[in-house]
Amino acid sequence: MTSLSDRARRIAGGRRETWLVPLLVVLGLLYPWYEETLQSLPLIGDFVPSTESMVVMIALTMMAVGLNVVVGYAGLLDLGYVAFYAVGAYTAGWFASQQFDQVTFHFFSSVPNDQPGIHISMWLVLVVAGLLTLFAGILIGLPTLRLRGDYLAIVTLGFGEIVPQVVRNGDNFGGFDLTHGAFGIAPIDAVGIPALGVIGLPENFQTSPNRALWYYVVAFLLLLFTVFCSVRLRDSRLGRAWIAIREDETAAAAMGVPLMRTKTWSYAIGAFFGGVAGAYYASFRGGAFPADFYFQISVFLLCMVILGGIGSIWGVLAGGMILSYLDREGLATIGSKLQDAGIDFEPTKYNAGIYGVLIVAMMLFRPAGLIPERRHKIELEEGVHDTPFYDVTTEGTLTDRDPSDD
């Protein structure tokens, strides 16, 4: 057992290098401008993702950062995060497409004013999607968050299964077409900067010649915003309450942390980012399709959090970018390389199994993740409240009892 002061010092820890963050931000933001140079490099050039893929990777990573608020900070296992993604994407569909062509309403939209349907500026839609999803998170959270651990996991899983099915079957609620059923809602309006068209900024990203570039830049800024909120939240009073709940719920309640309210906020805030990312991704894809929302997405996002390090922002960013890269391009590239080498194996077919091996291996050999969060690592190493008093597998190793005294 380490002494208490030791432990406190390790939790407080030293600060990271301050030059690293601005460097990464600048490098990230400028990616589209040196992407082609990277791709022309020998050997690694084939593995460099296109800007187009980067947009998707960033959207998924943003969701992972949101999920990290729920799983990493508050320690609530959420297996139905895809529901929030779906709510976000469909909000974009409702407020920025021709879905409701009974009415025509435009508000700074990037499409011509005579198109039927509700067309609100996508910037506003992102906010609305976040807020609606936040509300959905509260709705789902209120009845279920009093359940602990794996019960909560299974309820979130249930919602993650129900929401996509409702979306798929939602083309006829008493004759009202809410979600356009299995076809999904398409096209969804593009993000654009209509007012500033005069100074060369595109009015509509989707039709702009630099479509991927513009979507990338905005996605990157959104991710920055998410990470910033996430860091600030972690260090706030609310964030400390989350971590207290993660470490020991009973003790946290005894110290006056309101469990329900704190947990609901983690759920709601995690949902918010999922909704924004979902809406943005829907705009990039140009539609919201029910086939996109399945359980594997929830697990995929969870894998990112676990791979990177539960609760660690740097870790989740790394885990998110690595896994979504593999999903988007990496596995296919590796597959074609294997084909060239004469090995007949398609990694894309077995992607779920590969993620399965990854998370099992991570849990067994490096449970704190690639870039562990200090406090979480200590929890894993020194145990938390639910470590058994008497360890039946390794007798004597974790108890104060000295085996030689027996």
Binding site: G75, L77, L79, I138, L142, P143, T144, L147, R148, G149, D150, Y151, A153, I154, V155, L157, G158, F159, E161, I162, Q165, V166, R168, N169, M260, R261, T264, F295, V299, L302, I306, K349, Y350, A352, G353, I354, Y355, G356, V357, L358, I359, V360, M363, L364, P367, E379, L380, G383, V384, D386, T387, P388, F389, Y390, D391, V392, T393, T394, L398
Partner: protein, 348 residues
């Protein structure tokens, strides 16, 4: 905002409201069932028998979940995929190795089914035991989230093994069973499928309940489920008992896999959804409670057949998943301990 939310919550949580809403739900369902029954009693009974077939298979899978949960408090997500893989292996044995076809004599089919069971049951007991050994035992003392996450991972691995071995095609042995009815009472048809399912499943349940209630090892299982540390102190080998539990769960998965293959069709991803349904059944009955799992599974089987089969205002197959998970959520919210379970701090 929080104050309002809290006061709304307080009202929602009061036992009167909770029971009222719960009874309201139950009332609507009862009325719906009664109207359907009055409109066509024979049809209703046939749909119910279909539900019995499904429910009995769900019951065997649900027992696998509830046994493991009872002893480790772990939702073994891989269980459903082990079940599907066992069905696929059984299809290889039946259709390729023993070369049984719809024209084979009934005796040959029955013999082949018996031999297949004799092979798959021990095989999947060992496979399930190995999963425990590799993925769950090293995490025995980790935070409880850790084994749950590896369980999800193992689920993906097992289903991808099935995908690698069998591809994306469905395998089915449903034409091996004689079509038509074994016997009828009035217009109620007892099909051979139902009879086959019950002939395999009922003895399995009897053997299981004998094992758990009357053998020394069964007693050890119950003891470990109640209190791991205390049973270790009185000399029960905890790790061996947990392994035995996984062996039994694997055998049950193999039995269910074969029956499912004979009734429906199996594919590499069949186990995922069926596993979730079976887990819901286990929760509905009271997780950790063996008779509860069977009861819950029968109820879910009926619910599924009723929603898909009844004629008057039935939601239809599109909504099955939502209804099953809606029930799961309602149970966890209104009665976390399940129908037969005892209230635990974890569920409350």
């Amino acid at each position: 905002m929080n104050e309002t939310a809290n006061s709304i919550l307080r009202i929602l949580r009061s036992p009167k409201v909770v029971n009222g809403i719960g009874l309201g739900f139950v009332g609507v369902i009862v009325v719906w069932l009664v109207v359907n029954f009055v409109k066509g009693p024979e049809y209703f009974a046939n749909v119910a028998l279909d539900g019995l077939t499904r429910g009995s298979i769900y019951g065997v899978v649900a027992l696998g979940y509830t046994l493991v949960y009872g002893i480790l408090q772990l939702i073994n997500f891989a269980h459903g995929d082990v079940f599907a893989l066992s069905g696929l292996v059984a299809s290889t044995l039946l259709l390729s190795v023993f070369d049984i076809s719809p024209t084979s004599s009934n005796l040959a089919v029955a013999g082949a089914i018996a031999v297949t069971l004799a092979i798959t049951v021990p095989l999947f007991a060992i496979i399930n035991g190995s999963i425990e050994r590799v993925a769950y035992r090293p995490l025995r003392n980790a935070p409880r989230l850790a084994p749950l996450i590896t369980a999800v991972g193992m689920s993906f691995i097992v289903s991808n093994v099935a995908l690698g071995l069998y591809g994306v095609d469905y395998e089915s042995g449903s034409d091996l069973i004689p079509q038509g009815d074994a016997f009828t009472i009035g217009e109620i048809q007892f099909t051979w499928k139902l009879v086959t399912a019950l002939v395999i499943i009922v003895p399995t349940l009897i053997v299981l309940s004998w094992f758990v209630s009357s053998t020394r090892q069964g007693k050890a299982m119950r003891a470990v489920a109640q209190d791991t540390e205390a049973s270790a102190m009185v000399g029960i080998n905890v790790n061996r008992t947990i392994s035995v539990t996984f062996f039994i769960a694997g055998s049950l998965a193999a039995v269910a896999g074969l029956v499912f293959l004979l009734e429906f069709q199996v594919r590499y991803d069949t186990g995922f959804e069926l596993g979730l349904i079976a887990f819901t059944a286990a929760v509905l009955g009271g997780i950790g409670n063996l008779s509860g799992a069977v009861l819950g599974a029968l109820l879910i089987g009926f619910i599924q057949s009723f929603t898909e089969g009844l004629l008057w205002y039935a939601p239809g197959g599109d909504w099955t998943r939502s209804i099953v998970f809606g029930i799961l959520i309602a149970v966890l919210v209104f009665r976390p301990e399940g129908l037969l379970g005892e209230r635990t701090p974890e569920g409350a």
